[in-house]
């Protein structure tokens, strides 16, 4: 293929991401699962890199979780989203950045639907006015928070205290990346690299010194699948999906997993415990599991933030093996200390999966 032609095709897979002036909306479930991730996204982008990112305490869930669980109709989700847009407009921002993949998919889907059906947008505007007396302008740009971290990945690498390298051997750490279904499978042109070559996470891993693992079930779902997990009778499907992924990645001996979506780190992390209890099998070295991180947590580790401030003690799978490989300094006794150094309760240990 002619080089220029190849460059032109690849440019179709890229996104022009504005570097400043963002209105940030958080995820409803991430704040319970991985509460420090969003805090450190703001700490990295706003405080460390000096970007203008604003968030309002008045914003709510986007309704995506209920929409994908079939508990609310799309029009309700649209009105909730219209209210978020109204908050953004009132704050004077034009670019929206979402913490959650499903929110990203939800906002994008709604904007695309309004483009196709303007009469529906008019009805939602009317609903919002009747309910809240608010009006809104549509965002000029919608990004996922990982798009911004990807954009700033080299700036993060320049400030890095640690690299994704095994300090004992000098070799790059083997990292599995998991994109999440609602990032670029719904609207491929909205994701960096599209649906075929999503490089939002692999780009970060490359910049921070790690080696991305390509394995057969790399693009398989994490197993969350909303109703697959939410309906207890379906949970066998959820854990079986995760099991399939771990069986597939096991021969490549990954050191860690980096994820993009609120559900993926939770299920790839917690299901390792369930799989170990059901089959007696663990996937890390010496009886440990494979630690799973959000992209903000991994960025925070690379930048040298304290692992316990990043909330890594909340993970089911012990993260210490990776911290030791990276050479991260941490205090094992401080793992279960609260903000004011008060002692928190220690969790019960699993019978198979080795934890601290």
């Amino acid at each position: 293929m002619i080089y220029q032609g190849k460059q032109k095709i690849w440019s179709d897979y890229q996104k022009e991401i504005p570097s400043d002036g963002w209105f940030y909306v958080r995820s409803c479930i991430r704040q319970s699962f991985f509460p420090a991730s969003e805090k450190y996204f703001l700490a990295i982008c706003r405080d460390l890199l000096g970007k203008d990112i604003y968030e309002s305490e008045h914003h709510t869930t986007c309704g995506g979780i209920a929409y994908h669980c079939d508990t609310i109709p799309q029009e309700t989700a649209m009105t909730i989203v219209a209210r978020q847009f109204a908050l953004m407009t009132e704050a004077g921002y034009k670019n929206l950045v979402t913490s959650c993949i499903t929110s990203f998919g939800n906002y994008t889907e709604i904007l695309e639907t309004w483009r196709e059906f303007p009469e529906l947008e008019a009805r939602i505007r009317e609903n919002l006015w009747k309910a809240t007396r608010r009006e809104f302008e549509k965002p000029e740009y919608v990004a996922h928070a990982s798009d911004l971290v990807y954009k700033f990945r080299n700036e993060i690498a320049e400030r890095a205290k640690y690299r994704l390298v095994d300090v004992r051997t000098g070799k790059p750490l083997k990292i599995v990346e998991h994109i999440g279904c609602h990032y670029s499978k719904m609207f491929p042109h909205k994701g960096i690299g599209g649906a075929e070559y999503p490089c939002v996470l692999s780009g970060m891993v490359d910049s921070w010194g790690g080696e991305v693992i390509d394995y057969p079930e790399r693009r398989h779902c994490c197993g969350f699948g909303f109703r697959q997990y939410m309906v207890k009778a379906n949970r066998g499907y959820s854990v079986s999906n995760t099991y399939k992924k771990f069986e597939s990645m096991e021969p490549y001996h990954p050191d860690a997993i980096i994820t993009n979506c609120p559900g993926c780190p939770y299920f790839l992390d917690r299901w390792q415990y369930v799989i170990s209890e059901q089959t007696g099998k663990t996937y890390g070295q010496n009886g440990f599991g494979i630690p799973v991180f959000t992209y903000e947590e991994l960025a925070g580790l690379v930048l040298g933030y304290d692992p316990w401030d990043l909330g890594l003690q909340i993970h089911q799978v012990a993260v210490e093996p990776l911290l030791d490989k990276m050479g991260v300094e941490y205090d094992p006794d401080a793992k279960y200390l609260g903000i004011n150094k008060e002692k928190l309760m220690k969790p019960a240990l699993p019978s198979c999966l080795k934890c601290f």
Binding site: P216, A233, R235, G236, S240, E247, P251, I275, Q278
Partner: protein, 115 residues
């Protein structure tokens, strides 16, 4: 073992490095067109025998490519092949122009040799 109230299915993870492609390679020699299959499923969608017998040319090819036809899987592939009436509708709709009727006959011949 803890009872969580839900179970775990056997993993169907594909291990491409460990697949034994002997049967598929034999088929490739007899019907090279199989290499161009993109698993679109047009053959299966149009199959007269499919709705009542489970016959699926796409699944037969995938089973061979992923070694699912091994051990107990062979029985399923043979059962699917035996339901084919050689009507040729799959050949007519294949966007890659694969001679699927010849492919099925070739596969039957391979299985005859194996007996």
């Amino acid at each position: 073992m803890i009872d969580f109230g839900f179970g775990l299915s056997r993993s169907s993870a594909v291990r491409l490095d460990e697949v034994d492609l002997t049967l598929y390679r034999k088929l490739e020699k007899l019907e090279p067109g199989v290499r161009t299959c993109m698993s679109c499923g047009s053959c299966t969608a149009t199959c007269t025998a499919g709705p009542w017998s489970g016959m699926s040319v796409r699944k037969v090819i995938l089973d061979l490519q992923r070694e699912r036809a091994s051990a107990e899987g062979h029985g399923e592939v043979r059962k699917m092949l035996s339901a084919c009436m050689l009507c040729g509708k799959c050949s007519m709709v294949c966007p890659r122009g694969i001679n699927t009727r010849h492919l099925i006959l070739s596969l039957c011949r391979i299985y005859e040799e194996k007996k």
